[in-house]
Subunit: 116 residues, 6 copies
Amino acid sequence: MGKEIIDDFRSYRSKMNEKLLAQDNKVIKRIFNLDTNAFQDGALSGRVKEMLGLVSSLVLRCDDCVRYHLEKCHEDDLNTEELFEIFAIANLVGGTIVIPHTRRALEYWEELGKTN
Amino acid sequence: MGKEIIDDFRSYRSKMNEKLLAQDNKVIKRIFNLDTNAFQDGALSGRVKEMLGLVSSLVLRCDDCVRYHLEKCHEDDLNTEELFEIFAIANLVGGTIVIPHTRRALEYWEELGKTN
Amino acid sequence: MGKEIIDDFRSYRSKMNEKLLAQDNKVIKRIFNLDTNAFQDGALSGRVKEMLGLVSSLVLRCDDCVRYHLEKCHEDDLNTEELFEIFAIANLVGGTIVIPHTRRALEYWEELGKTN
Amino acid sequence: MGKEIIDDFRSYRSKMNEKLLAQDNKVIKRIFNLDTNAFQDGALSGRVKEMLGLVSSLVLRCDDCVRYHLEKCHEDDLNTEELFEIFAIANLVGGTIVIPHTRRALEYWEELGKTN
Amino acid sequence: MGKEIIDDFRSYRSKMNEKLLAQDNKVIKRIFNLDTNAFQDGALSGRVKEMLGLVSSLVLRCDDCVRYHLEKCHEDDLNTEELFEIFAIANLVGGTIVIPHTRRALEYWEELGKTN
Amino acid sequence: MGKEIIDDFRSYRSKMNEKLLAQDNKVIKRIFNLDTNAFQDGALSGRVKEMLGLVSSLVLRCDDCVRYHLEKCHEDDLNTEELFEIFAIANLVGGTIVIPHTRRALEYWEELGKTN
């Protein structure tokens, strides 16, 4: 693979999000807005919230959601040891069916590491 | 992508369904039959039932099931505004983990629109 | 059981919803607002949308969500034959693990029928 | 608790199943029939199939389905050591969120043991 | 309700856990051990890890797991504003089907607050 | 497709598993060890346990987990009739959303059959 898994994800995601929002469905637009709001600094830091988003995405086994939160965690300077402790909780709570998603998460994380 | 996502889905689906049914497992065959029965006109119209099948597939996050019901909804002349109201309910009830499936559903819907 | 399953559900639900909203968390409050918006008449009727909410709740196996949408469907004069066609789709798409939730849904539906 | 958890489950289950079938919805009735068919002796023994039903119910976290298959496994003379190996796979594959269902399964199993 | 929901949960949980461990199934015992290990201070603090456990339990809709992590978060002096930000992420990512579990979580949290 | 779906799966899986284990996270490593332990001969044979792993993976709709257990079942000389009875239970208990995963499972199974 390589860096193109990052580019492909980002470009497909933003192209389709634009189309989803262009349709002007009020509920859809507000859900997208809420998604930004919920992860901002508050009583909990944005950094902790992104970890919460990441572990939720892992146990719910949503690869694209995992990728999105990996990007945010990477921007927040999460280190690999911290990442693996999140992986550990996700695989323990959610079971070994989370392993394949963890493999793909690690691959994406490694590519993000090369973009610095 | 383009029109080939439709062709690829349809041909893989029918090739493998044929093989699944060829094995002559009675339970599998009856489940396939029921699947046809459950979506026929009854007290509720087939059109409403396909919407029920679509929203169920979205919240259960099954891309191939979504595609199948999108095809049926397209044949039933569902319009894009109606589709987005189904998307809205699915993303609200099922959460933002449904968003990636909604992106792929919209892409497929757009291709279906070009086949007319 | 009897009518108290309706009263208990309604009073617990509204007592706790009040407490949830009293805390003034913006995201929680907006999600509650969206929940009202998403099921209003639009391109699709509120009646069809409640059926979409019901089938989603069934396949996701959320008893309290099922009860809520059963109440709305009852107000919209859904009849029992229509209800069973929704049950059929939910049990076929979501599998026999939906059966226990269908049993409880039917029990609640019967009690709702007595409140008229 | 005690023996009444068995009696309550059985009587509620059969009372509501009767009502579900009385409505004469063809899809619902066939799903119930299939449920009987799928677990009969075939290439695999009914005993092994009940274990498959049990582990599926555990990882899908459906307490009533677990109880049903526990009864069948008990009739098939599954022993407690075998049961725990099924528990182990369910908790490993499905994660620690299966633990609460395992606790309730064990309680039900103990009561079944007293009925001999 | 009141304080007995705490006592009932704790006593049932520890009684059944003891029975689960008494059977001496190696895999089950190790999963229980891992569960303790995974939430200890490491690269991430135990406090953050409990929040990760809580949000995972909420999106996976496991009431007993939610209760367990609420107890731990309460011991770690999580405040109610922080709790609601976790609720917000869980309900957004996991959808409105998480609301009933959030109601029950808040009820339990209130009782925990009275135990100080 | 063809034989490369087997080679691709195996090489990606072992490459990424190695990286996951190299990081030296104790919880992750123990989960991997447990995964080996849980499926060994015990009160139940390893053969039956692999079937339990397969049906769990199917109802939880984890394609990579399905592939892994298909390989093990193939080594244990499961025949196609037995396989279809497992498919039947998975599709009945887990619903028609399991069908797309069953199609992919059958494709993989056919390729495994050619490797003998």
